[in-house]
Amino acid sequence: MDSSSHHSDCAHHALHHELVIDSLSVFYRHVPALENISMATSCGNRVALIGPNGAGKSSLLKAIAGLVPKKSGSIQWRGTTVRKWFHEFAYLPQREEIDWLFPITVRGLVEMGRYPQTGAWKKFSSKDDEAVENALRSMGLLDLQQRQIRQLSGGQQQRTFIARSLAQEAHVLLFDEPFTGLDRQAAVSLGKLFEKLAQDGRLIIASHHDLNTAGSLFDEALLIATRQIAFGPVSEVLTEQRLDQLFPNKPLDC
């Protein structure tokens, strides 16, 4: 990877920022959602989580974000164990889970990203404003900042949420099915945006269900069905034999 185009915080480190997941298991009551997941990746990568419905893709994203308790195993980020939430991780839920009618402007939503820095009471400093401004600019939302979020297109809504995580100064962006519900053009530009974010040194982890586009949109893939099936570069992970096993009746163009 070209380190000169790397995200500034990353560039200071001799080692890349590394995310190491070690034999992670998550249970809901007695039902296993994830068993024994291990992977290691670093800033600048785009990782796809692939698996059938109920395979634990969302659970893994939530576990990394600290939203569901880990039964065993650990998550390490930059050499330290992450126990609960951490402001360098941003979670971006599925679009259907968000109440788009909530009365809030694009800027207001991006400002919400500063909560880890400001907490409940602290006033917005010039540094906070600057972070919000930069996030809006890099997502091309400056002209739309006073719009209500319900007035945005699907792609713009997606960018607003990404801007929110940039304002939070997150390094790891955890997306739940980001390409679902986007039209073709918006999907193509989100793909380009992922590429740019990765080049800037962010780590993107996203659940993804379109096997055809996984190769062009992501660098690495984690294939799971509650248990880990494979992890590595997309082309090596997504072999026909494995996919036939996991998705026996699935048409390829879903």
Binding site: L67, K84, W85, F102, P103, T105
Partner: protein, 282 residues
């Protein structure tokens, strides 16, 4: 309007109570509108009736305090009970709440004939703002001040929680605590509105003000402060005009908000139906 009436202490107390209860409930209605849970609030408000009845049944008398405590305990039990049942993943919370609150309401109705304070109980059903005492005013003031203080201290994390709980939790917002806090404040608001509009109508006061404001603006802060002002002014106007119109004050308050809501829905310059029609016609 009778000017002499304005000088009587009981009427003055009623107006002060209307302003305070109207403001705190109107302020809180911002949360109800943002959270889109007006129907479950309605369920909780009905739950207060059996609570009051049980309070009287157990203590043998009807007083301010056993009614308040009874109402609060019943709403807490049914509200938290529905959350607990929904935890099991088998029954959805709305379903659990509907079953529990209708059962509780039915139990309250069954209990009514066994009480000899039936007459007064109607005041709790539909409100009796003319009868407020000085103590009642202090209770209303205390509840209103607590609500304003807590909501303003925790506004940021509460709004983050209302908007998207999982994103908020990933940012370190104590989501569970905020949800309980909002629920607790809701119960307080419901109990404080008993005196003005009674338990059956209290939802009107706890939803309508912010719903009206939301037809005029998108600003979140306006939902709260605007809702508070609409709630206070509307309640005072309704109490003032109720005598002349020969309506009891409780229903008068809720009717006024209903009319305001319909008028706003039709004529609001921003989101009114008529303006909208005109705009789409162009």
């Amino acid at each position: 309007m009778d000017l002499e009436l304005l000088q009587t202490p009981f009427y003055q107390r009623a107006l002060i109570a209307a302003a305070m209860i109207g403001f705190s409930n109107g302020f809180f209605s911002g949360f109800v509108v943002l959270r889109r849970n007006a129907l479950s609030v309605s369920a909780l408000s009905h739950t207060m009736l059996p609570g009051i009845a049980l309070g009287i049944f157990l203590t043998g008398s009807l007083s301010q305090w056993n009614a308040f405590v009874g109402a609060m305990v019943a709403a807490l039990v049914v509200g938290l009970g529905s959350v607990a049942v929904a935890r099991g993943n088998r029954i959805e919370q709305g379903t659990a709440l509907a079953v529990l609150y209708t059962s509780a309401f039915a139990a309250g109705i069954a209990l009514l004939p066994k009480l000899d304070t039936r007459q007064e109980l109607e005041h709790w059903l539909f409100g009796d703002i003319i009868a407020v005492s000085n103590t009642d005013l202090w209770v209303a003031f205390g509840i209103g001040a607590t609500m304003l203080l807590v909501t303003n201290l925790a506004m940021r994390p509460m709004l983050l929680t209302l908007f998207e709980p999982s994103v908020a939790a990933a940012q370190g917002v104590p989501v569970r605590l905020m949800q309980y806090l909002i629920f607790g404040l809701l119960i307080l608001a419901l109990v404080s509105s008993l005196q003005a509009v009674g338990c059956v109508l209290s939802v009107g006061l706890l939803v309508a003000p912010a719903a009206i404001v939301s037809l005029f603006t998108d600003r979140t802060s306006a939902l709260f402060w605007g809702g508070g002002c609409v709630g206070a002014v509307g309640s005072v106007v309704a109490v003032l005009s109720s005598g002349a119109l020969g309506i009891t004050p409780g229903p008068a308050i809720v009717i006024l908000f209903g009319l305001l809501f319909i008028a706003s829905y039709l004529f609001s310059p921003k989101y009114g139906l008529i303006r909208f029609k005109r705009r789409t016609a162009n």
